[in-house]
């Protein structure tokens, strides 16, 4: 039997992604480091590390610790700030033949708006991811992401300045009911949702009886969180996103094709690779190839048939 080509392209909030696989914010730099390891044009897109209005030094070290099948991080949104990003990184991103999402961070709504407003005018930028779920900063971040009213306010305010570029809202799993926060984002104009961000967690050094991380707590990522993330993607898909026609970027512990397929079956239109990129920087590219093989094996000729097909 002749092998038929599998269509891996998906429509994601109005953007045509070459494949339903992206790299997750904070795990792929500005893609420049990754291009030594893979052809990023194979991917649906990349999400830059968080950009804030002013440069942020980030937290003291230790900023990470490995835990069972996972790791905690408390980087503290270290980044070069908007001006240097535009000057140094936009020219690099312009050269990439893939969709570029910028992850937006801030301490106040005005700060988020200022960054989005400035970057919306850059043709190299295709969309935004609103980071309202970072567990490692004292102001902004997760304090926005757990309050449905604040989510609505910040999403609406940023959406106003995004021009026609899609705005994706990144949700924290550290809430009682993620469908409530998902709904708040969609009602305020979010074009897509990305979930999940890391889980607030702690590791303790039993010799010193102190937390391992200088920030005391950090965000748990990696394979350890995958089953919870799959569940939450499916929950948001069923309870909110499917009826609203809003795509989900699913993430949380994906390190191979099987993991990615689970998320797509659960309801993700595309998936993002995070922690796994640290170990094999070409993971996202291998998953793109793997998805094609999986579809062929299952007799599926369009990856879109898989989205939310959970029986």
């Amino acid at each position: 039997m002749m092998e038929q080509d599998v269509n891996l392209t998906v429509d994601f909030a109005g953007l045509d992604l070459a494949a339903p696989v992206m790299t997750a914010s904070g795990t792929c730099g500005y893609a420049d480091e990754l291009s030594e390891f893979m052809d990023v044009s194979m991917l649906g897109g990349i999400t830059t590390k968080s950009i804030s209005l002013n440069p942020r030094k980030g937290n003291p070290t230790p900023r990470i610790v490995e835990t069972s099948e996972g790791m905690l991080n408390a980087i503290g949104l270290a980044n070069m700030g908007l001006d240097q990003f535009i000057e140094e990184k936009i020219p690099v991103l312009e050269q990439l033949n893939t969709k570029i999402f910028v992850n937006l961070a801030g301490q106040t709504i005005d700060e988020y708006v200022a960054v989005a407003d400035r970057l919306a005018k850059e043709s190299a930028i295709d969309g935004f991811e609103l980071n309202i779920s970072c567990p490692n900063v004292k102001k902004g971040g997760i304090t926005f992401g757990t309050d449905p009213k604040l989510i609505g306010e910040i999403t609406a305010a940023v959406k106003k300045v995004c021009l026609k570029k899609p705005l994706m809202v990144k949700l924290t799993p550290t809430v009682t009911d993620i469908s409530i926060t998902a709904k708040a984002a969609i009602e305020a104009g979010a074009d897509a949702l990305s979930l999940v961000n890391t889980f607030t967690a702690m590791a303790i050094d039993i010799e010193t009886q102190k937390p391992v991380l200088a920030n005391r707590t950090g965000g748990l990522s990696g394979p350890a969180i995958k089953p919870i993330a799959v569940y939450l993607v499916n929950k948001v898909y069923n309870e909110v996103a499917k009826d609203a026609g809003i795509p989900i970027l699913g993430m949380g512990g994906i390190r191979n094709t099987e993991d990615a397929v689970e998320f797509i079956i659960a309801g993700a239109t595309a998936v993002a690779i995070g922690t796994a990129t640290f170990v094999y920087p070409n993971t996202a590219e291998s998953i793109v190839s793997g998805l094609g093989r999986y579809c062929q094996k299952k007799g599926i000729f369009d990856i879109r048939e898989l989205i939310g097909c959970l029986k």
């Binding site: 480091e33 030094k57 070290t61 230790p62 069972s68 990439l96 640290f278 170990v279």
Partner: protein, 316 residues
Amino acid sequence: MNKAESVTKGLFQAKVLSNQQIRQCYYRIILEFDPKGSELFRNVLPGQFLEIDLSRISLPETSRIPKHLRDVSQRQVLLRRPFSFSDVMISRDKKGVSVKVEILYCVLGPATVRMMSLKNDDTINVMGPLGNGFSVPSGLSQAILIAGGMGSPPILHLASYLKQRYPECQPVCFVGAKTCEDLPFTVRIGNITGVVLEEFEIVRVPSFVATDDGSAGYRGFVTDNARHWIEHNQIDPNSTVIFACGPEPMLLSAALLAENYKLPCQVSMERMMACGIGLCQSCAVETKSSAGDTKYRLCCKDGPVFNANDVIFHKA
């Protein structure tokens, strides 16, 4: 530019040629790189490092796992582990370049416990070469090498590198550890010279040992031992550099020693790292910035070797 035009680092396979215990928790492993790895490492510098995926290696039998590591070794390994090398052997023939590296490692957690069980002909996945190595200024006539405990391997590599490539340079090495048992080298008691480290003797670099408890060599800190040597020798500050690798308090002492004698000093820093290639931003090293403020730079990408003057050391 979707795929980088000039590739300086990458993923490749390495074959285990030997993996032997030196003493207690110290092991020496020799790896032979595949053609891709050999090509990438042909110009590697002392102080650069590599990362090994040890997540797929099984645990040794329980009886071989040190008692104090039995609990922690139950944890699955996720991230790669960074290692520096104590030697790099490069051979060239008609078929191309072939690189072997020697790594000295200390069994201290779930990944290195797994590393113990690697056998000859096993293959492992390696990423590298990573980071920036030591830089040797032109006209260097005296290199004062200071190594502490598990920071010693790249200093041994630097010693042999200087001997091979810079015949006009005289390296002298000071090695420190808590006790004689904590020295990651082969210790021999010489007739005239006292304690001798065979690995340094082989590369014809004089070495001086210091231990906290006096169980080998000078009793006290390695940096104090180096200070005595500097006091009793003619040093030309214009052509002498201190190169140091070891625990951070030792690096701070080396930096202060250098400052005292107005010598340039390069230190190789260590941080917990997840990726090794500048993605995760976890291995931050606080440095002085031009504005008088401080700035975090990355150990993996901007380092691990820094000018001591730039670093703000953590005392604890």
